[in-house]
């Protein structure tokens, strides 16, 4: 039978292949593994992870609530974080179909109101927001939820 006698290391290797085939790990996380960098040092690299997606954006932080602005060719996405709670708004909001909170290991749908605003508790992890606007995917840069 296939896979017979697989030890833990072999099973982990098989899992690595399965993950790579089904849900590839971000390149930056792989580099993190290879170079053993600290998570904070990744922020800049992770911000460059945009391959194949429709949106990019620079990060700006302000006093008081941390505010991140992400600009795509068609939409602006604003993420405001204060006391562990995040508020995301999309301008213009027309055509906004859905929103998801994405981490390295999960993807959870977010409720959006008529004004294109969604709220969620900030995960203690790297995360980003994926919006479906019409037929376009708008994906923000990664944000480090442990340090905002």
């Amino acid at each position: 039978m296939i896979g017979q006698g697989m030890d833990d290391d072999e099973l982990l290797e098989a899992l690595a292949s399965a993950i790579e085939a089904n849900d590839p790990t971000p390149d930056a996380l792989k580099r993190f593994a290879q170079e053993s960098h600290r998570l904070l040092q990744l922020r800049t690299e992770l911000a460059e992870l945009q391959a194949g997606e429709a949106a990019v954006g620079a990060v700006r932080e302000s006093a008081g609530p941390s505010t991140f602005r992400f600009a795509s060719p068609t939409r602006d996405v604003t993420l405001s974080i204060e006391r562990g709670q995040a508020l995301v708004s999309c301008h213009p909001a027309e055509g906004l179909v859905s929103a998801e909170l994405v981490t390295a290991t999960s993807s959870d749908p977010l409720e959006i109101n008529a004004g294109g605003v969604t709220r969620f508790s900030v995960p203690q992890d790297l995360f980003r927001i994926r919006l479906l606007v019409g037929a376009d995917v708008v994906l923000t840069d990664w944000v480090d939820g442990r340090h905002v």
Partner: protein, 87 residues
Amino acid sequence: MDEVPEFDDALVAMPEDLAEEDEVSGLVWAGFNELRAECQRLLRLLAVKVPYKDISELIDRPIGSIASIRKDCLAELRRTDHVAQIL
């Protein structure tokens, strides 16, 4: 005319080998998705070879416990119906 080099069959993936790899990969992936979120997170980090020291910080568990959690999570993966089919 140049001589055409011979293939070493042992180095060529045959269709049945590829089909078997796909089957294993699919079953392992299905089993992985049945695991607790904590195990999924740990195994994903281990799969890309993040050092234990960093995993410890990322999942907020003592470094000395990582090997034990790894073993438990892989055992959990083995017990899933999907992976049990191939082991």
